[in-house]
């Protein structure tokens, strides 16, 4: 186990302990009595009608899938960005640049397509 792994482990454990501790202390100190009104979800004083867990717009799906695609793209750019200086120092900067430019260019094509088809417009 490296010192980093130990430190991260300690960090996680302590953060979880603090979060849990706050909730537990609050649960111990807090008091109150139950009533039917308190058991209803808040809807500005009116009784709720229908289930809130209805179907949602397909736009959220589009946002999520575009997000994944571009997140993957960005993640591939990180290792490339890290070694870019080394390639430049070795005189192969143009190669490294072209690799990423082609990669980004093809993905920009996708962005332009989505844009043109109106997938990025929130308002129809």
């Amino acid at each position: 186990m490296s010192i980093n792994a130990i430190s991260i482990l300690v960090l996680f454990a302590l953060a979880a302990a603090v979060a849990l501790g706050i909730v537990l202390i609050s649960a111990l100190l807090g008091s109150g009595r139950k009533s039917t009104e308190k058991l209803l979800p808040y809807e500005c004083g009116l009784d709720p009608i229908g289930s809130p867990r209805r179907r949602f717009s397909v736009k959220f799906f589009l946002v999520a899938i575009l997000f994944i695609v571009f997140d993957v793209e960005v993640v591939f750019l990180y290792p490339w960005a890290v070694v870019f200086r080394e390639f430049k120092a070795a005189g192969e900067g143009a190669l490294a640049f072209t690799v990423a430019a082609v990669f980004l260019g093809i993905l920009l094509l996708g962005l332009v397509y989505a844009w043109g088809r109106g997938a990025l417009d929130w308002e129809e």
Partner: protein, 424 residues
Amino acid sequence: MMILDLLTALAKVVIIFAMILGVVPVLIWMERKGAAYIQDRRGPNRASILGMRLGGIVHSFADALKLFTKEEIAAGSVSKPLFYIAPMITFFIAIVTVGVVPFAEPLRLFGYEFNLQIADLNAGLIYVFAMSSIGVYGLLIAGWAASGKYPLLGALRAAAQMVSYEVALGLSVVAIFLLSGSLRLQDIVIQQGALIWDWNVARQPVAFVLFMVALFAETNRLPFDLPEGESEIVAGYHTEYSSMRFALFFMGEYTHIIVGSLIIATLFFGGWQFPFVAAELMRSNMDGVIVIGWPAAGIALLMFGMFLVSRFRRRYRDLRDYETLLFGVPAMLFATLLLIAWAGLLTRGYLDNIPAWIGNAVVFAVQLGTLLAKALFFCAFFIWVRWTLPRFRYDQLMNLGWKVMIPIGVANVVVTSAVMVFRP
């Protein structure tokens, strides 16, 4: 060895948690006071402990006490375990992101090295992004488990907004990595150097603006606070929460601001680098630093004390009136003592040859203070923006994220790498 590692890690985590959790109430006070002054009000100034109001900061602690003793309401239809876990996730994620922030150079004391950075991962900043990408679940679970219409709408808005801006956030720092050639935050700070025009904010202004805007969106702060837009969906994903469970969301938001400010300062403003004075320069001229820095601190403290004493008024005719004197007079006395001690040590020649460990400790303290000061500035900036700008409309928000930030981010990466390659 393992035990020593464990103890060091524990010490670091405790110190950093104490700093963050100590700043949270101060930040809440800053927010309330800042809002008040921007809106031409006085802000919180009533709560007091034995006549001490500390400029209204006591209100933050009074609020915490109140929230701890409030009833925890859970509506009948909530999904119980998820409803309880969600605020903890939000807070946990917000505080865990601090794990890779370097607070100072490693401190060398008597052959032992103490690095005030919890983990120096080779993935560096990506760790922060990974953690904050998990943060979406805190909001999503909260909104879904609460089984109300407002929470669910707020949660979906929050999730869609956060993922949209996560891409811009990640893209903006690629240019930084191009310059630094490393993902480690410590390397990025060292690479920036002490000169202000070498800091990334000057070399990569576009990346800075993108990062800043995306960070505002990630923290769900105004002008990006649609997930809790109170004029439309009450309070968004935390509508159903009460007591300390609500406060965990609240603390999570402020922790997020603090960590975000630390990361902005680290990435773009030289981190712990003191402007124009490199650590080596400071170390080799330690006597000069102490001879000048000591009386400067003393005079600043003296002026602070004089300011407080000058504010003494018989306004309330009770204990509260004497608060300014209670702090002002000791501050002035202590400042005078500091100045006398300085003069004494200087004339006796003690300040001519300072041991290396004192020098290291002073440099460490200066670096830590520099980073915290920079971060505090950005915390204040967050507050200033919140009480100045109006809220976006949701389609404007999405347009900004996808049609403006991402193309600019890609262009910035391409231009930066092209300049790096083709500049003679």
